[in-house]
């Protein structure tokens, strides 16, 4: 572990931070220190523990081990104490109130009052000052709901700046910005740093990091890989450190199967966060959608199956030479599409119902006669499927909510396996799943494809994506930025496309 030489008291210093969620360790013994005036990048793949670390630094969540010091003194736990100590976090999810004005949002929680009345002039001057400091001009009386997403991002930053922070933490601030806006934001951050604020900058976008940051901390699987001054490293070296070397072994078990006819054809898909995508998936083919969180992959697959409305585009599913137009989610299910959503607990399962009920739900028409459930058939059907997906313990009457994440995911997959889907779409199929279950889910996905189904997988887990997919589309800003065939895809090429780093030839 290399720590930059301490020239002066660091504005913020965390040492030995450990945070566990259930059995998983999200952050494992990470130390970081940032001096005033420094812009310190924190990079890593999805799930490397960046956001968790930042929430610990901002006091939103408490670490299991380790300490956070601000300006050389310990701070108490809790968001309030951290705010008072001068740490301001700009969230990844925007935390503004839509129906309040720009000025009110900037002072939210710290509104100056006299006898309970809002001091409007003071509010306006604080807000105007903060906006002037970041150099953004916007009508103070405009409600947030009438602003563009990128403008909201700037208001969020103004809110952090208005608190006169010592440490400013930004979590993926450029994810929703246009190139011009990004450019502006980066210049602004450099200027803020010059005024003595310590800035921690989290980004997937390596070029941004190299443009403004003075040093970079690389995280992988919750562990610190290295902290180095930016001058001593190269973009290529950073990406290598992010993805790690030892994982390349997985590429050996890649699946090779000749794809059949086109099953799914999506043309010109536009929806919220999706800006014109053409996509094809063939029988026996596993197509992967790679990209960063927030790139629009989930929105894309939801628009394809009709789970969310599309603004434009057509989707057809061709089964046995018959093309079925997919207009609504109902038509997608009828035509033979199975959709395993990203959020299994909120969208995938009725947690208070049994495994049998959950699996039977999409299969209820085959498991009933004249609208009456055939209980015996359900029992056999679900028991068989529980065996196929390897549910452990295979007790189909237990509430799904009592099972572990991996078992729950197997139940979601079993729901669709029973329908023998022509196309199955899996969004982050192994997130929060233990290693054993992960391998079994991969086996199931491959078997499905081998039996002739078309498979579309969204995954932020690069090794998984590479291992499963014969073809990878990399999505950024709601568009497909590049397509890599199985042989030419590796972690570096996918990451480069996903993060907008184009210097690595694909």
């Amino acid at each position: 572990m290399t720590t930059p030489p301490v020239a002066e008291t660091p504005a913020i210093a965390a040492s030995g931070i450990v945070k566990r969620f259930g059995g998983a360790t999200a952050v494992d013994g990470v130390s970081i220190s940032v001096r005033p005036g420094e812009i310190h990048a924190v990079v890593g793949e999805n799930g490397a523990g960046k956001s968790t670390l930042m929430r610990i630094l901002a006091g939103v969540i408490a670490p299991d081990e380790g300490t956070v010091m601000v300006n050389g003194t310990h701070i108490d736990r809790g968001a309030k104490a951290s705010l008072d100590a001068g740490i301001a976090l700009v969230h990844q999810e925007l935390s503004l109130v839509g129906e309040m004005t720009v000025a009110e949002n900037i002072v939210l929680g710290t509104t100056p009052t006299a006898l309970g009345f809002i001091r409007k002039k003071k509010v306006a001057s604080i807000a105007a000052e903060a906006l002037a400091e970041i150099g953004v001009s916007v009508d103070l009386k405009e409600p947030i709901s009438r602003l563009s997403v990128s403008l909201r991002q700037f208001v969020e930053i103004a809110r952090a700046v208005a608190r006169k922070p010592r440490v400013l933490i930004l979590d993926e601030p450029t994810a929703t910005l246009t190139p011009a806006e990004t450019d502006y934001l980066l210049t602004m951050l450099q200027r803020l740093a010059a005024s003595g604020i310590a800035i921690i900058y989290i980004s997937h976008r390596i070029p941004e990091v190299f443009r403004i940051c003075t040093s970079v901390t690389i995280l992988r699987d919750g562990k610190l890989v290295e902290t180095t001054p930016i001058a001593d490293t190269t973009p290529s070296a950073v990406i290598d450190a992010m993805v790690g070397r030892e994982l390349k072994l997985d590429l050996q078990v890649r699946r090779t199967a000749s794809p059949g006819d086109v099953v799914l054809a999506a043309r010109g898909i536009r929806a919220h966060n999706v800006n014109g995508v053409d996509l094809e998936v063939r029988a026996r083919q596993i197509v992967g959608l790679g990209g960063l969180v927030g790139a629009g992959r989930t929105e894309l697959v939801r628009a394809i199956v009709g789970a969310d409305p599309r603004q434009a585009g057509t989707v057809t599913l061709t089964v046995d030479g018959v093309a079925h137009p997919i207009g609504s989610y109902g038509s997608a299910v009828r035509a033979g599409i199975g959709y395993v959503p990203e959020e299994r607990r909120t969208d995938g399962l009725a947690l208070s119902m049994s495994v049998a009920d959950n699996v039977a739900l999409p299969n209820r028409h085959t498991l009933s006669r004249w609208g009456i459930l055939r209980l015996g058939a359900i029992s056999t059907f679900v028991t068989n499927l529980a065996d196929v997906v390897g549910l452990r313990p295979p007790q189909i009457l237990r509430e799904v909510g009592e099972y572990s994440g991996g078992n729950q995911q197997k139940v979601v997959i079993a729901k669709w396996l029973g329908r023998e889907p022509k196309l199955i779409i899996l969004d982050e199929p192994t997130r929060g799943v233990d290693v054993g279950a992960k391998a079994e889910i991969h086996r199931l996905v491959r078997e499905l494809a081998d039996k002739g189904a078309a498979v579309l997988v969204v995954s932020s887990d690069l090794p998984e994506l590479l291992e499963l997919s014969g073809l990878i589309h990399v999505v950024r800003d709601g568009r497909i930025m590049g397509t890599l065939a199985g042989v030419e895809a590796d972690e570096k090429s996918v990451m480069s496309l996903a993060s907008g780093e184009t210097m690595v030839g694909a």
Partner: protein, 351 residues
Amino acid sequence: MTQTPAPATAQTQTMQLGTEAVGFVNKLRVSLARRTEGRGLALLTLVVLVTAFLEPSVFTSYQVTLGRVALIGLVALGLTAVILMGELDLSVASTLAVSGVVMASVPDIWLGILAALVTGLLIGALNAFFVVVVGVNSFIATLGMLFALRGLAFVLSDEKPVRLTDIDAGIAFGAPVLGPITPRVLLFILAFIALQIFLTRMRAGREFYAVGGNRQAAMDAGIPVRRRIFTGFMISGFVAALAGVINTLERTAADPTAGGTVLLASFAAAIIGGVVLNGGRGSVLGTLIGALSLGILQVGLTFSGVQVDIQDIFIGTILLLAVITDPTNLRAALAGVRASFRGREKAQAVV
């Protein structure tokens, strides 16, 4: 409109991201677009035009009309505070009845009024307790309270109207104090002004919008969300009790069955006025507009000799339409319809 005092640290280059309105007409247009009262205003205009045409006496005998508006509007004002936070208070009608009975049961009129208002505050606090501390959904908690309090009103009153001891005070209360304005209307206007100031000028009131609009953000920003919800329910309880007091004074008796229609009408007023049931959007001005439309409509119908039953049908229909044409609901329904039409397209063989 940028009041930028340009502090020393200000960047020389600024980014013009917001579109700024220039000129009076554009500014007016922007101000209007920011408002939430559009639907209420449309209904009010329609009602006023039709009434002016068919039953102009509604406006000449405006005393009656104002009284009716005040009756509907007062409870709706308190309700607005709760709905803005994304909660619901169905117990207002019973609170009105209970506090009226409490007031009439106390021999001294001023003590009675005080007791009634305290009752309202207590009921509000109890509602908030179930919602905030126990964690019961506010629809169901206040629904239970609606039934329980209606029962309480019957118990306290022995199931019959309670005569006010000091009947003269009641009669005096009904007389106009300011020109044609009766104390009822005056109190309504005062309540409106007080809530308007509270919700637009005071920190606690403005934070109601944050609690309803983005509760997580409100908590993150350090807003005492629980205390705000308590305040909201207590406002609603207090205002409902005030309405109970006014009713009792005007009728010189407290009716334990009072408030049946008030529940419907006050919800209708708030929802028509653009207060969104999910919270965070709306204004007391909107509620006032909603109450005006409903009040004028009711009086107009009464003057035209339409019986109360049909008035109930009218207001029920308006509430039903208002709640299903809530912009977010409407969007969901339209998307559903569009999707099901698209789903109807026939499968076709590939050529």
